[in-house]
């Protein structure tokens, strides 16, 4: 022990003693000096070797604690092992002394006269129990394994094993039958393993915490710290509130506390891109602190509840535009009450609201049919043909999004709707209505709409190549600027070429992700779209470096190109010296681009 310097945690007492110059070795030395008569303790009881083993092998709960304490390296334990100069018998003696009042008391009883002086001297000497001894105050210590012992109950002789149990009062050991009949299970496993589990759980958290804090998160922490003193940030209004809101949302750090940064009675617009952490009360507060809002957009606002909607109908009297992503807790009666008690809305866009049913739709139309300009009912579980009937009475709609329903609407319902509201529509999204066919294009969109600029027909598996190409070649609408025909794997080259032929001059965003069999000849036509800023060519198998080079050269306004799943694209135009400001993502060979 003395040859290494490794030391475990120590108790306050040990620490204090060490500070005052009392160490195990000095204590042991003093003890040996003080003992004028080394013999007696040895003669008093059991052989010390037995005692020693019994202590280390103790299986009772106390003993276990003692052992773990020893493993932990309490310095006072070294009393038992340290001190090489004195002879072994002396060490044993000091152990015996330390080991317990029990032995000492026995000594007192048997050889009082002899021990008197010794005892008195001991009053002054450092004789604190070593840690392993504290746990063992009982007068009886368990005998060594393998030795014979008399049962404390039935008084039969039996062999001590590691399962042998000490009686409750600590006066003796029990034989196996007595131990069993006393109700304790001698083979019961220790509780040590159970205790280990929490430490394992803690480890997982440890790994999560290891991430290096970003400067953005540090700044947000500072904002939260000073949030009660908003003036400290200078003129927030002059800053780009929108950008700050985005930066905070990106880290999911918008909380009820720092949301106050964006509040103000004079604000008319409020946009939170991640309101996950805004609780129900804080959403009510939001409305109370921004009474003049006309436009409110909350993304990921899962905690909006009936209470919030009830509060908003009075606290947000001026809101005409409401955009919510994920208000799934709001029940139908709360929606209806909101529509009935609030002034007509011009813009109502919700996504993912499984409780928004036909009754809500009726209430919305009843209150806002004439004013509604933008209507978004995305991923609404109850969407059905009846919904479309009611939407049909909103005659001034410019923007309609009824995409991603649970069950598709039918051709007839969509065509009827478009014949009602089609003439004014500029944006239309009918994605993922899996029952829609070419008939919607031919008799609905082509006949009724004339002002469309955005058309999203994503994932409509029944559309055919002939139908789509016929639609674009015969359509009187002016060129589109935003087109999404992604996830329609049956559309081929003629669809794309007729689409480009129709909208080439104004096209800004084109998404043909998943049109797997489009050929090179059609893809090359994309290079003739002068206004194109963003394109998704994902999973178009024919796309290669040459087509992409042509597109990059032809469409000078491109800022984003997605080529996920285009296996032939390797990015060779970079070495060919083509310079582009576009961000090209998804090249298989370039994980960082």
């Amino acid at each position: 022990m003395s040859h290494n310097n490794v030391r475990g945690p120590t108790s306050a007492l040990t620490e204090f003693l060490r500070a005052s110059g009392i160490t195990p070795s000095t204590v042991a030395r003093r003890a040996t000096q003080n003992q004028s008569v080394p013999g007696p303790s040895n003669t008093s009881g059991e052989p010390p070797s037995v005692d020693e083993t019994s202590i280390t092998r103790r299986t009772s709960k106390r003993g276990r604690r003692a052992r773990s304490g020893r493993a932990g390296g309490y310095a006072s334990d070294e009393l038992d092992e340290l001190e090489s100069p004195p002879k072994k018998s002396k060490i044993v003696e000091s152990q015996g002394k330390g080991k317990g009042n029990s032995i000492k008391r026995k000594k007192k009883a048997t050889k009082k006269g002899d021990d008197d002086e010794y005892e008195d001297e001991d009053e002054d000497a450092y004789n604190a129990l070593s840690k392993s001894m504290w746990a063992n105050p009982g007068p009886y210590s368990k005998p060594a394994i393998g030795s014979f012992e008399q049962c404390a109950k039935c008084e039969k002789q039996f062999t001590v094993t590691r399962y042998t149990i000490v009686t409750a009062d600590g006066t003796g050991s029990l034989c196996h039958p007595c131990a069993k009949s006393s109700g304790t299970d001698p083979f019961k496993k220790s509780a040590v393993r159970k205790r280990k589990q929490p430490t394992e759980k803690r480890k997982v958290v440890y790994f999560e915490e290891k991430r290096f804090p970003s400067l953005v998160s540090v700044c947000i922490d500072i904002i939260s710290e000073y949030i009660d003193d908003i003036e400290a940030f200078g003129d927030v209004g002059a800053m780009n509130t929108e950008a700050i809101s985005k930066a905070i949302a990106k880290n999911r750090r918008l909380t009820p506390d720092n949301a106050h940064l964006f509040y103000g009675a004079h604000h008319t617009l409020l946009t939170f891109y991640d309101a996950t952490k805004l609780s129900t009360p804080s959403l009510i507060t939001l409305a109370q602190l921004n009474p003049n809002l006309t436009s409110l957009r909350l993304d990921l606002c899962g905690q909006i509840s009936d209470d919030v909607m009830d509060s908003w109908k009075t606290t947000l009297p001026n809101v005409t535009s409401l955009e919510l992503l994920g208000p799934y807790l709001v029940r139908a009666p709360a929606w209806i009450a909101f529509f009935e008690n609030h002034k007509p809305l011009e813009s109502f866009l919700i996504t993912q609201s499984p409780r928004f049913n036909l009754e809500c739709m009726k209430a919305l139309v009843a209150s806002s049919a004439t004013t509604l300009r933008r209507l978004g009912l995305r991923e609404i579980g109850h969407m059905c043909d009846e919904f479309l009937e009611h939407i049909g009475s909103c005659k001034s709609l410019l923007h309609l999004d009824v995409s991603e329903p649970t069950n598709s609407c039918t051709d007839i319902a969509v065509n009827t709707l478009l014949s009602n509201i089609g003439p004014t529509l500029t944006k239309l999204n009918l994605s993922n209505h899996s029952l829609l066919t070419d008939a919607v294009l031919e008799f609905g969109v082509a006949e009724s709409t004339h002002q469309l600029s955005d058309l999203v027909l994503r994932a409509l598996p029944l559309l055919t190549d002939e139908g789509v190409s016929k639609f674009f070649s015969g359509w009187s609408n002016h060129p589109l600027s935003y087109v999404n025909f992604s996830r329609n794997p049956d559309l081929l080259s003629s669809s794309l070429s007729s689409l480009l032929h129709h909208s080439r001059s104004h096209l800004q965003v084109l998404d043909i992700n998943g049109l797997k069999d489009v050929e090179l000849s059609a893809l090359k036509m994309i290079a003739n779209c002068p206004e194109l800023t963003s394109i998704d060519l994902g999973w178009c198998r024919a796309v290669d470096d040459f087509v992409l080079k042509q597109i990059l050269e032809g469409c000078t306004k491109l800022t984003e190109v997605k080529v996920w799943g285009c296996n032939k694209v390797e990015g060779k135009w970079i070495s060919a010296g083509i310079r582009t400001s576009a961000r090209i993502v998804g090249i298989e060979g370039h994980t960082t681009h």
Binding site: F212, P213, L215, C219, I223, F233, I244
Partner: protein, 123 residues
């Protein structure tokens, strides 16, 4: 204002090995004309700055070894560099990161500007 005035190594005389180790010097210029010389490995802590100074890219920044922070004034760029040095030093070290020391160095008056700049520079 040169934050690192003890530089004696001329940027043009650095060896290829230095560039690979990030030991060569690059210049960061704020929009009000302050210029800061920092080790490349420190500049690389920012994704945006690191990419535009990447020797294998053909940006003008990488050829001149100068990055222009066109949106940020000197004090903001200085705080960015303080964080980048902090990160370069502590991200490899074991043990606790004394993040409080950094927080104390950013006064609340500029924290919103720092926030926006940090967001842009992927810090």
């Amino acid at each position: 204002m040169d934050i690192d005035t003890q530089t004696e190594v001329e940027p043009h005389t650095t060896s290829q090995g230095d560039i690979e180790n990030g030991e060569d010097w690059v210049r960061l210029v704020s929009n009000d004309g302050f210029s800061f010389l920092v080790r490349r490995k420190v500049a690389n802590m920012s994704g945006t700055i690191g990419n535009s100074l990447d020797p294998s890219s053909s940006y003008a920044e990488s050829e001149t070894k100068t990055y222009h922070a066109t949106n940020d004034r000197g004090i903001i760029v200085q705080k960015l560099i303080e964080y980048m040095s902090f990160k370069a030093h502590y991200s490899k070290a074991k043990g606790d990161v004394p993040i409080n020391e950094l927080m104390e160095r950013i006064p609340p008056e500029i924290v919103l500007e720092v926030l926006l700049a940090a967001d842009y520079h992927e810090l």
